[in-house]
Subunit: 406 residues, 2 copies
């Protein structure tokens, strides 16, 4: 491992001598200085020296500016195995060094094996939920802030009545005076248990994990003690490292669902930032997200299809060191889109719906049922329109939002 | 406080009905839904409802796309007083909602007073260092990774010999097997003490604070026990909240220096991200940075002058709740630039030099001395060229890098 490299790919835009620019990064972000070192010292420092691995010049951008993809290798031995060290090394100072976007990072197994990866991953989540191969279905509270425990209980009950597998908190739910988090976890757990006893279906509540980052691991343990099945985390606002530490903590035996909040400050620019497939795909999985929410390619403001698919690819590609994570491309999802979701993302997927459940003309329970029926039909290779003949809820949803079938 | 608002300003680019777009954010990121609420519930939820405060349409951007600055208010009562809650609320989901950049956040004193702000700030740092009104001078190790303790000791000794006030670690110094951090702190402290006994000058070592975010507060305490005077922190890779918690921790009685690593992934785009004055100015200060490093307007790849000045403005503006922080605009700084630095930034400043000290033809000690003499001259309103007649070190620096005087 100690002779291996972490390789970062950058898109650099501007009138540069790209070889010189890349060399400057490779030296500057590792040993700091090279040519002026005495020979004896060079020998010792060589093991820490970054190297330019490849420069591929691209056609100029729309403004006629030259562009190149530069691949730079950083010796693994320079870093501790954590995301802050990784980001600081490959895109710390360098992020401010002109129009430069970090497209990808490849890391050797020996480095990755020291990052936790998902605690459960796709297979063990399926096992716990008792869902063999269909996509998971998740519903989002329509409102959280200001709601009383009683109101949220009713909303929870309505959502699980439709047959969803998970219900998640709003990611902006921080002040919950009228419905304190420990009470929510206990009450929703009890509603889920009642449902399980009645129907056999397991339902999880993904509770928003908040608080000082120094106390978050303890808070996670307390939530688990109260019955939390799944934790929702605003990974970027809190930092990747707390995800890492919670994922690696054996006393927090539940999966973490990563919310992409703030990620739009980082991935969308063509010239700056970190690509969506790296930020929301690789880094989230390496740091320990079991499920990753991100913008679908279908909403009114959508992520480019290519990026949305690449995130799913990075979350699910087989790896010798890490479990696979569930992609959850969200926004603009309604039952009539389920066949398209299957076509684009396959069935190792979390179908996440807010408006597509709550906006159902017959309410949230019917909204959930419409999705369940749409997923069942898609799994069976049946047309939604045909399936809707047996499901008035699905029919109403198709009437409301339309149906996109191949 | 509970009826007050946190106001975020966004630059939104695109063919939008800006009023509708802003309204959507104001409702969506607070109570979630509004028009369909029953009247009785509206009454209760009104206190949590976001509001559009102002829409100012701008001239279209260079590609002819419409633009507007939208100001949206979020009730303080919706948030916990920490940066992750703030970022998630005002720029969490909303960051992914099209071409939208967060330009500024204004928060009421009652909210800000629950954020720590700098532990010491400019005045108490000046007091501890015994520096009445001149800028502080900091030197950066030329190399850290791979260096032995003995080599770093020599480098430290050379740097403090020139009269710098602080010496900082490389921010990429994570693996320090040949010079473990606790040993560095003890040895450099002892060298600083010897220098103080000899000359009366206090010198600080800004040590890189690393490790799991869950153990960082303890690590900070251990470093302080060993004699650390100042902590260097990669705030964005680790997350703002750990800065907050360390700044608020009475058992860590030393200042924190914020490194801007990874910030270039967030501030430079004209359409996305968070403006530099907000990210590196306000948020860093609110979360507790005593000193903030950021790109100067002078280097080869520079921050726009306007932004660099605005960061300094946000760090130093008088506030009823927070101490003022030292701006440290870095990169491309040499002794001949000191009068320009004074003109642009005044003297409540940390002058941070790497190449401008190590690249001195007579070595790092002479490089430090050249800066000390340049600062002394600038404070006295004396021309550097005149001062250089008494200082061969300054003269050599001016010969090497030139001199920019008004």
């Amino acid at each position: 491992m100690e002779n291996e490299f972490i390789v970062a790919s950058y898109l650099i835009t501007g009138k540069y001598d790209f070889n010189k620019k890349a060399k400057g990064i490779a030296v500057g972000l590792t040993v700091g200085t090279w040519t002026e070192l005495p020979e004896a010292k060079k020998e010792r420092m060589a093991q820490h020296l970054g190297k330019v691995i490849d420069i591929t010049e691209l056609s100029p951008d729309l403004d006629g500016r030259p562009r190149a993809i530069c691949k730079i290798g950083y010796p693994v031995r320079n870093l501790t195995p954590d995301i802050p060290a990784l980001l600081t090394t490959v895109f710390g100072k360098c992020s401010m060094d002109g129009a430069i976007k970090c497209l990808d990072i490849e890391a050797p197994e020996a480095f990755l094996s020291q990052l936790p990866g998902p605690k459960l991953g796709i297979d063990k989540i399926r096992e716990r939920l008792g869902i063999k191969d269909r996509p998971l279905l998740m519903s989002i509270f329509k409102q959280c802030i200001g709601m009383t425990l009683k109101e949220l209980e009713e909303a929870y009950q309505n959502q699980i009545a439709g047959g969803v597998d998970l219900v998640k908190d709003d990611e902006i739910f921080f002040r919950d005076d009228a419905a304190p988090v420990m009470q929510r976890v206990r009450r929703f757990k009890s509603l889920s248990r009642q449902k399980e006893e009645r129907t056999g279906q397991v339902t999880w509540y993904a509770v928003n994990l908040t608080g000082p980052v120094t106390e978050m691991a303890d808070q996670a343990k307390r939530l688990v003690e109260q019955g939390a099945d799944c934790l929702l985390l605003n990974v970027l606002p809190y930092g990747f490292d707390i995800l890492h530490r919670i994922a690696a903590d054996p006393d927090v035996p539940v999966p973490v669902m990563a919310h992409p909040s703030f990620s739009g400050a980082i991935y969308p620019s063509g010239h700056y930032g970190v690509s969506a497939p790296l930020l929301l795909g690789k880094l989230m999985r390496w740091a320990g997200a079991d499920i990753v929410l991100y913008p679908s390619p279908y909403g009114s403001v959508a992520m480019p299809r290519e990026d949305a698919l690449a995130i799913a690819g990075n979350l699910r590609i087989e790896s010798a060191v890490h479990q696979r994570s569930f992609p959850a491309p969200a926004a603009g999802i309604h039952p009539g889109l389920v066949p398209v979701l299957f076509r684009d993302f396959g069935n190792d997927l979390l179908v996440n719906a807010g408006g597509g459940i709550h906006g159902h003309p017959q309410g949230a329970a019917a909204g959930g049922k419409a999705f369940v029926d749409a997923i069942r039909a898609a799994m069976a290779g049946e047309s939604l329109k045909v399936a809707a003949q047996r499901s008035p809820e699905l029919q109403a949803a198709l009437d409301q939002w339309g149906c996109i079938e191949e």
